[in-house]
């Protein structure tokens, strides 16, 4: 470990300024947090400049999981690229499928059948719950409350069962494809999904009792890692991180796609402590607000899925022609609301069946960019708390 530090930064022990009289300092130390570290959620490497337990500076180093995903997209037909989008943000594969599919559909002018759209919404919201369950559970894990992790994975396992019944995969689904959904729902799936929602709804209260309103947890996360509204906008934060700073901004409401305008749901935002059931000691934009956004969004997703299951129309789920699509000589940029924020796809066609350029705008990458700005003069123990609260997935940061 010492060798790695030496290679990256020769000045391991920086001479500190001892002119400040009466202020206790120790020798500064450079510490590598990652790429192999339990709390960096993958292969993120953060170089910490620390003074005792205080982190003076944190610089993220990324690229350990780079797999040329965008370049691969320029060598395949759009429907062939769908499985690669699964592997970008591997916790929300279906939402990635959806974002890319919408981009290509907009480019080629394909109209998705209404049943396909409804199933897309059901899948996307189920996957949003699954992804938020991982986030919320891992947040507990990073805080040392391991039980939260297992409870969340217990419910996530049921969602994965539902997905497995619907599309055969448990992680990389590729269920949503260009022009709709690959397969229709199997018999009895709708009832099982309703059973799950009945079961899952009360569980959110359990999570709140176990972790969200726990006194120690509030002390650990409240008023820590505060991202102001201006910073959140300036750094291009999206998703729960943006809403956790107090802006009611969600693409499902402001730019509805796949028929989200048909459903009745709320966009939760962070509120200061003491208002609307929020506990004391919480300020807008802190770790707790970002964590709690996910808990609230799970409840909203349950609402959306219930409505979608009730209104599920009959008919086809997939538009007729999706293979050997001729992409027009045009460009398109479409964003969709992922569990972690806005996932945008830029697709440029040149008249052939293979895109000339594919570019993704990942929410995790943008959310990670604020790390250095916020993680300054905080304790080492707050580092995992902050990294977990912006909830990055390194598969998508590195792509």
């Amino acid at each position: 470990m010492a060798e790695i530090v030496l290679q990256s930064a020769p000045d391991v022990l920086i001479d500190i300024d001892r002119s400040e009289q009466g202020d206790l300092h120790t020798e500064e130390m450079l510490v590598n947090m990652g790429p192999q570290h339990p709390a960096t959620h993958g292969v993120l490497r953060v170089v910490l400049r620390t003074d005792g337990e205080m982190v003076l500076e944190a610089i993220p180093h990324i690229g350990y999981l780079h797999r040329c995903a965008e370049k691969i997209g320029e060598n395949l037909q759009p429907f062939q690229f769908i499985p690669y989008t699964d592997r970008m943000d591997y916790l929300s594969g279906i939402n990635n499928n959806q974002a890319f599919a919408i981009a290509v559909e907009k480019l080629c002018g394909i109209k998705v059948p209404s049943r396909g759209q409804a199933i897309r919404v059901i899948f996307a919201e189920l996957n949003r719950i699954a992804s938020h369950l991982v986030t919320v559970g891992c947040y507990g894990l990073d805080m040392g409350a391991m039980t939260m992790f297992w409870w969340c994975f217990r419910e996530r396992e049921m969602i994965l069962d539902l997905f497995e019944a619907a599309c055969g995969a448990r992680l990389t689904y590729s269920a949503i494809t260009v022009g709709g959904v690959h397969d229709d729902l199997p018999d009895g799936w709708v009832e099982r999904c309703r059973e799950f929602l009945d079961y899952f709804g009360p569980k959110i209260d359990d999570y709140n009792k176990l972790l969200s309103y726990n006194h120690i947890f509030l002390k650990r996360t409240g008023n820590v890692g505060v991202i102001s509204l201006e910073d959140a906008i300036a750094y291009g934060l999206t998703g729960p991180c943006l809403r956790g700073s107090g802006i009611r901004w969600d693409l499902r409401k402001v730019r509805p796609y796949d028929g989200y305008e048909k459903y009745d749901f709320d966009i939760p935002i962070a509120l200061p402590g003491g208002t609307d059931g929020r506990p004391e000691g919480v300020v807008v934009g802190d770790n707790w607000c970002r964590y709690f956004m996910r808990v609230l969004e799970m409840a909203q997703s349950v609402r959306i899925i219930r409505q979608a299951l009730d209104q599920l129309p009959d008919g086809d789920v997939l538009a007729k022609k999706i293979k050997n699509l001729k992409l027009p000589d045009d460009e398109v940029y479409v964003e969709a609301e992922n569990p972690r924020g806005q996932l945008g796809f830029y697709v440029r066609g040149d008249g052939s069946t293979i895109p000339y350029r594919v570019k993704a705008r990942g929410p995790s990458f943008n959310n990670l960019s604020i790390l250095t700005h916020i993680c300054r003069d905080i304790l080492i123990a707050d580092m995992p708390a902050f990294i977990a609260s912006i909830d990055i997935v390194l598969g998508e940061v590195d792509r």
Binding site: A2, T147, E164, A165, E195, Y199, L379
Partner: protein, 557 residues
């Protein structure tokens, strides 16, 4: 066991239960040799005890063991599977058997000390060639009538305190080994139940009871790794700094009035000092590893130690003040009169002191929510980062053994020690016979109560660990120094005043004292009965509480 067999156990097969003839012949030969030696020592050596012990008793013991081992090996295939299927009964049986053994050993020791040695002291002329005070004839004459004469060579060594110490030390080391092995398995089962899973289920058969021994074997077989840049001597030394104090703490920990290896006047201070040495292990380990995360772990432990030690010591002063002694045996004996005589209920300050001691003791054991030195999500594994294999296992052993000591201290100082909730005076009329002593040991005061209560508080520690998030280091310092320390200071002061007020022996104060004791006792009783009741309710309704989908998988999955 039905669908899974441990690889190192032979599968049950029919037939070929042949008794190994060679072992039987060897046993017979040994017995003959022992008989010859008996005749020789009796005739030519005048029945000298050491010669008798070595030449006669040893062959007899080896012969019995050889025959038993031969029998066990030859019939292993028949009863082995049954044994593994009936593990719970074996466990209960082993607990009962060990209690009986401890009781029998204690009775034997007491008899050797009181009857044999004391009798010898009355007869100064009796000396043998080994300068031991007693001959075999004297032992035979002093023994109860129902003991056969040939047993006297086996009893003979018991007159030497060194030998008695060796035997009780062995017993302690066995207990010290069993505690971590059991608690690690139990912790995994408790964690599993809390987290809606099963925990270890495979190794050994019944609920994975052999998981801890199997893990221990795995750890011992692992590569002996010392990092290149580590301080090799300190790195190897650190685990012993952890395990030796933890083991030595058991030397002064009384399991009952007489069930203590060394009854020290300052047992409490001694145990606290030893547990303090355990901190050195963490700091040395962290420093010697030459890993930045390890150093963080070590420094956190140092930081935590200076903050929890003082409130912990202050909280422990409260029962010391109430009883007026530092000897754990005396403090335990002061609580013999049932539930309401337990020190935690003696006054409100002691009640709060118990809670503050328990919080501080969590920090002392590095248990959640104070597990900062090894916080796995922040410091990888803290001071344990570079450790693996046997050294890592030693650290774990020490941690779990120290947990029991800490819980034992809580039980002795606040919750009646080895006494049951029933007053010991109820059994005073039963006399001092063997049966009465056994019954009183089970009903009123015996090591079984101490172990039971200690185990309950171990469970509370596990329960807290799997429920609470971890505290940050500055919050630990704040909680211990700015909250617990002033609080315990007030408790010591208040408790002093309470004891002082009690010394005046005024009637009004006695009534007030009695009422407060009853109220506190009832509050404690509600806790003691309510928590198991809730746990039982949750276990009984676990399927309804968890939900039906868990049991009923989807057709596609």
């Amino acid at each position: 066991m039905t669908q899974f067999s441990v690889p190192w156990l032979p599968r049950p097969e029919r037939g070929n239960y042949g008794f190994p003839a060679k072992a039987v012949v060897a046993a017979i030969v040994l017995l003959v040799v022992a008989a010859v030696f008996y005749w020789v020592t009796n005739t030519f050596l005048g029945g000298r005890p050491v010669a008798m012990l070595l030449l006669v008793a040893a062959p007899i013991l080896v012969a019995i063991m050889a025959a038993a081992a031969a029998f066990a090996v030859s019939t292993w295939r028949a009863w082995g599977p049954i044994l593994f299927k009936t593990a719970p009964f074996l466990l209960i049986g082993a607990v009962i058997a060990s209690c009986v053994c401890v009781w029998a050993a204690n009775a034997l020791f007491e008899w050797a000390r009181e009857d044999l040695v004391a009798a010898a002291a009355n007869d100064p002329g009796a000396t043998t060639w080994f300068n031991g005070p007693l001959t075999l004839d004297e032992i035979v004459s002093a023994s109860p009538a129902l003991l056969p004469a040939w047993i006297s060579p086996l009893i003979w060594p018991l007159q030497f305190p060194l030998f008695r110490d060796v035997v009780s030390m062995t017993t302690l080391i066995i207990f010290f080994t069993i505690v971590p092995v059991f608690v690690i398995w139990w912790e995994r089962k408790v964690a599993g139940r809390i987290q809606s899973r099963l925990g270890p289920m495979r190794v050994g058969g019944w609920h994975g009871w052999a998981q801890s021994p199997a893990d221990g074997i795995k750890l011992v077989l692992k590569e002996d790794l010392v990092p290149k840049e580590a301080d090799r001597i300190l790195f190897r030394l650190a685990p012993y700094f952890a395990i030796i104090p933890a083991a030595a703490a058991y030397m002064a920990l009384p399991f009952g009035v007489t069930y203590v290896f060394r009854d020290l006047d300052i047992a409490l201070v001694f145990i606290l000092a030893l547990l303090g040495i355990g901190v050195v292990a963490v700091i040395v380990a962290g420093w010697a590893s030459n890993n930045k995360w390890s150093i963080y772990g070590a420094m956190r432990e140092a930081c935590q130690m200076v903050s929890y030690e003082i409130p912990m010591g202050m909280a422990l002063l409260v029962p010391v003040l109430c009883v007026g002694s530092l000897s754990l045996r005396e403090i335990g004996e002061a609580q013999a009169e049932g539930w309401f005589s337990w020190l935690a209920f003696s006054n409100p300050f002691a009640f709060i002191a118990f809670v503050s001691y328990f919080i501080a003791s969590l920090a002392s054991c590095k248990r959640a929510p104070f597990d900062l030195p090894e916080a796995e999500s922040e410091l990888v594994a803290g001071f344990l980062t570079e450790y693996s294999g046997f050294r890592w296992a030693l650290f774990f052993f020490a941690e779990y053994a120290a947990m029991f000591v800490i819980c034992g201290l809580a039980v002795i100082l606040f919750l009646g020690g080895w006494h049951s909730p029933l007053p010991a005076s109820w059994g005073a009329a039963w006399g001092d016979g063997i049966l009465a002593r056994g019954l009183k040991g089970v009903l009123f005061s015996g090591p079984i109560w101490f172990v039971l209560k200690g185990t309950f508080f171990l469970y509370v520690q596990l329960w807290l660990r799997w429920t609470l998030p971890r505290i940050r280091i500055d919050q630990v310092l704040y909680a211990c120094i700015q909250v617990l320390l002033p609080l315990t200071m007030i408790l010591v002061l208040g408790s002093t005043l309470w004891v002082w007020a009690g010394m005046s022996e005024s009637g009004a104060w006695t009534v007030f004292d009695r009422i407060v004791t009853w109220v506190l006792g009832v509050v404690g009783m509600i806790f003691a009965l309510g928590l198991p009741a809730i746990a039982a309710y949750g276990f009984y309704h676990r399927r309804r509480l968890v939900g039906s989908l868990v049991i009923d998988p989807l057709p596609g999955s």
